[in-house]
Symmetry: C2
Subunit: 387 residues, 2 copies
């Protein structure tokens, strides 16, 4: 037998698979239980009508002799790159269309981004962290260092803890904590990266949840960020694309790895599904942005309600403002898998145990705002006596 | 600046990018030239109506409150895994639905497959070879050994040349040579892999072009292949999916890396676009298979015509039967980039120079059968005086 990649052997499982298994076991034992999931961050609102219409039009086009669409550009169609560049322009964060690569989503792009660097380059991730960053970095052969994010610091990592240049993964608004970095905080990270020769990899998958206009929606709101930052974006949560699969990555020419990225793409990708790119383009149209607002409204209402629920009970928590996640302290100093099970068994509510996001997540639970309004309200009623 | 992956730096470019650049230069200088591409293997026939209809239905479903589709299973939807397993059953090559992972296409799956193994494991590729195998293996940190494929051996690699266990990449029907392995030849490879502790990675992207029923369409036609072979399949060429992006990979439980593959998928993928999977399911339906036959008929007619053209002129060539590629010797012992330019400049015909596929490809040209019938016939007329 050939020697396997050591990072892919052993027993550790992807957090959400473990949650799925626990839920499946519970369901098997309690087939009539009506469970409510506030666990995985998946959408519950339908795809915007304008995106669905674009999908249908593209399908008809591809089936017509004059509309044949073969391999698309590895980096994405110019129509979508341009629409995304226009969105960045609206944020006063100029990015060139050519610097934008259309991807099948952030998770799908991570393998390629980590492969750009020698395995000798360490990867810095927050703790707690979205597990895919860590797992993909390890699978690509990198050492992984962690940046502890503590309650006393608003769950934000500290640039001063970077002791070795590397690829630094940030996520704002944050998954799992819901913490959002201010412009000043992002500036500190850019300064640190430029001074120390590090690169930032910034995931902005939840930027559409930012309503406070003083908060940045992109790392490129910081001058000089183009020289030291790659940014990931996604249509998944803002536009209900979790099942459609589309996102993007910005690799600025000035950041030093754009050539390697083009080379990686050339050999590893034949581009993203044409109808999906048309749907994404439609999502960014004026009609699309109006329709996006409706779905976001549903999720924001959930976030507000949950935040109100926990703050009125004086349960320590963060997130829920400008972010679709709430990060909530387990009552009574309990452990997170214990409380995950208790909420599952006593309330039929599925959350994500903080320990699954890293050692610093122990004692915390993640709740998502992506449920339906009625179900989320019902989940809060069921949890009333436990918090 | 962080140290880049050495395999992604330097000046070597992806073959098809180099071809595109040469063609763009020529077009700029000769804006009125009517070029015919027999170069890149991209489809010219439209998507099957039944696949387009499935795309449209899925789009409407996703936009309805009852039809919300969020994250799909990382390995693909059971409906498509089952349809693919059924296709394997029809080939008398039983594969379990769970062993099939739906991908965005073969090229898109290579990064993950090479990442399953320690960089200490060498990768064996043919020469000539589809460049993405080699480039993806190098990007994942593997050493790459080559298996020379010579005219005197029908352009087939020899199992006896494997001097060190590793991951052995085979492609049948072959890209670029159009050579097809018999069952006996595949058997030799399975025997060699089992005896030496190697694994086979078999790309069957062109299996739909096999019309001779004595030729295997899958490595699993060989008993025991489940213990030593991973197989890649694709809807790209058979069903006009180059722009839609869908393929699959079979990782049998018995081959020893299914667990690592699941682990890789869990952290790197959120599955493939739902409407695309529905389109692929439709392509495998009885109606889909009938419609597939029409497009394949167009491409087969081209292959026959080209084969007839070269054989009547006694130009040494292979492929064109049971395969959509013809591998043709350059006249007068010329070099392949030279003849690529000559055909471009004197005939307005784009082919792929053999040297781009490896050192053993020097002196040969690849022609694809994926053009339109009339354009292919016209290309042959234009080349008449040169061959």
């Amino acid at each position: 037998m050939l020697e396997l990649n050591a990072a892919l052997t052993g027993s550790a499982d992807y957090l959400f698979c473990r949650i799925d298994e626990a839920v499946a076991d519970y369901r098997a034992a309690h087939p009539l239980a009506r469970l409510i999931s506030l666990g995985i961050g998946d959408i519950t609102q339908p795809l915007a009508p304008v995106a669905a219409a674009a999908l249908r039009t593209a399908a008809a086009e591809m089936a017509s002799p004059a509309g044949v669409r073969g391999y698309g550009p590895a980096g994405g169609y110019p129509f979508l790159q341009t629409a995304l560049a226009h969105q960045y322009e609206g944020l006063s964060c100029p990015v060139l269309p050519d610097e934008i690569t259309v991807t099948a989503g952030s998770k799908d792009a991570l393998g390629g981004l980590f492969a750009l660097f020698s395995p000798a380059v360490p990867v810095w991730v927050c703790d707690p962290v979205y597990p895919a960053y860590r797992d993909c970095a390890l699978a690509a052969g990198h050492r992984v260092h962690t940046l502890p994010c503590r309650a006393e610091n608003g769950f934000l990592p500290c640039p001063e803890e970077i002791t070795e240049p590397g690829l630094i993964v940030l996520c704002t608004p944050n998954n799992p904590t819901g913490a959002v970095m201010t412009r000043a905080e992002l500036q500190r990270w850019v300064d640190r990266a430029l001074a120390g020769g590090s690169l930032l990899l910034v995931d902005t998958a939840y930027a559409a949840f930012v309503t406070d206009n003083s908060l940045p929606r992109s790392i490129y709101a910081v001058p000089e960020a183009h020289r030291c930052a790659i940014e990931l974006g996604s249509f998944s949560k803002s536009d209900g694309f979790t099942g459609l699969r589309c996102g993007w990555v910005v690799v600025p020419e000035a950041c030093g790895c754009a050539g390697a990225w083009r080379r990686w793409l050339g050999s590893h990708s034949n581009g993203i599904s044409y109808p999906v790119q048309r749907a994404a383009e439609a999502a960014l149209s004026p009609t699309g942005l109006r329709q996006r607002g409706r779905a976001l409204g549903v999720y924001r209402r959930n976030a507000e309600r949950m935040l109100d629920f926990f703050t009125r009970r004086s349960v320590p928590c963060t997130g829920g403002e400008n972010a679709p996640y709430l990060w909530v302290r387990c009552p009574d100093g309990g452990d997170s898998w214990g409380w995950f099970r208790r909420l599952l068994e006593e309330c039929g509510v599925i959350c994500a145990p903080g320990a699954g996001f890293g050692a610093m997540g122990e004692g915390w639970l993640r709740f998502t705002a992506f449920g339906k309004n009625a179900a989320t309200a019902e989940a809060l009623r069921r949890m009333d006596r436990l918090f």
